[in-house]
């Protein structure tokens, strides 16, 4: 018999956020084939970020104000464009590992949450970059 007092639920989908439904073999196979590439790109991002830190370290070590400014710029670039996205991608690969280990929909949800976090971070960076470009464009027009 239907319970008239049950909490609201969206139709068409099973359960809620904590649902323990199992994922299908096909879903698991797709995620398994995704994991290696995500891990590879994540590690490549981090390695590239670490390489970008080398000029930053030299800049700071030089003690010259301009070089230190350049070092700071490299540090920020390395963190924002390489190291943080790389860490997020590796976290996504780790969560995919949980999906493959336990086969639960809740683990798939955690993995997709990490994936969403990566794209949100990238999107915000792109919007900031676009904002700077627009600002530079307006400044260059105004300075004529």
């Amino acid at each position: 018999m239907q319970n008239p007092y049950h909490p609201p639920a969206a139709a068409g989908y099973s359960g809620g956020a904590g649902n323990e439904g199992a994922i299908s073999q096909r879903t698991a196979s797709i995620m398994a084939r995704t994991k290696g590439w995500v891990r590879f790109i994540g590690i490549a991002f981090i390695i590239f970020g670490v390489l970008m830190l080398i000029p930053a370290i030299f800049g700071f070590a030089s003690g010259i104000p301009y070089a230190m400014g350049g070092g700071l710029a490299y540090l920020i670039m390395a963190l924002l464009s390489c190291i943080i996205p790389g860490i997020k991608l590796n976290a996504y690969a780790n969560r995919i590992g949980d999906v493959l280990r336990y086969g639960r929909a809740s683990d798939l949800e955690s993995a997709l949450n990490e994936h969403r976090g990566f794209w949100k971070f990238v999107g915000i960076l792109q919007l900031i970059g676009l904002g700077f470009m627009l600002f530079g464009f307006i400044v260059s027009l105004a300075s004529r």
């Binding site: 239907q2 008239p4 007092y5 049950h6 909490p7 609201p8 639920a9 969206a10 139709a11 068409g12 989908y13 099973s14 359960g15 809620g16 956020a17 904590g18 649902n19 439904g21 199992a22 994922i23 299908s24 096909r26 879903t27 797709i30 995620m31 084939r33 995704t34 590439w37 995500v38 590879f40 790109i41 490549a44 929909a105 809740s106 798939l108 949800e109 997709l112 949450n113 994936h115 969403r116 794209w119 949100k120 990238v122 999107g123 792109q126 919007l127 676009l130």
Partner: protein, 166 residues
């Protein structure tokens, strides 16, 4: 057939369907919600990639026109034709690579949209497979770039004259 209960708590038909299919294993509310919140960001990145590719194609079109003009000796004294030719090739290739990445990301976003309407497990698999395809593409590109970089470093180390010039 389900009995209609006038006292039931309100519920949203997120699938947007007249008839509701049986809920299937992995398509939980949480999974769909995460993908729905990802869709906007991947669409943004996909559209930006396509815009960048379009701008690169415009540059290529101008460079190709200049290259053709240089070949016809109209501007032969002023334009370095080899640089223009390499510009056309490199910018054209970059434009194609950006365009493919943008199309793949937009395909992923569209697959999420279909999942939001249908709530079917096959649509979830399609979205995840498109996402996998994007990462495979990026991974292969990363391998190619790494190999080319390694070759360039080896070539530079192998030809000491390249350093003596500077």
């Amino acid at each position: 057939m389900q009995e209609h209960n006038p006292y039931a708590a309100p519920s949203a038909n997120l699938g947007g369907k007249d008839t509701l299919s049986e809920p299937s294993g992995a398509v939980t509310m949480g999974v769909v919600n995460q993908l729905a919140r990802t869709k906007g960001w991947t669409r943004l990145s996909g559209v930006l990639l396509i815009i960048v590719a379009t701008l690169l194609f415009i540059v290529v079109a101008f460079a190709a026109f200049a290259f053709k003009a240089a070949q016809s000796q109209l501007f032969a004294r002023n334009l370095p034709t080899f640089v223009l030719f390499m510009g056309v090739v490199i910018y054209g290739m970059a434009g194609v690579l950006y365009l493919i990445a943008g199309l793949k990301l937009n395909g992923f976003s569209s697959a999420i949209q279909r999942l939001l309407y249908s709530g079917k497990e096959s649509d979830l698999d399609d979205a995840l497979d498109r996402q996998r395809s994007f990462w495979v593409y990026c991974g292969i590109l990363a391998i190619i770039v790494l190999v080319l970089t390694a070759l360039a470093v080896l070539a530079a180390l192998g030809s000491p004259t390249a350093f003596r010039q500077y």
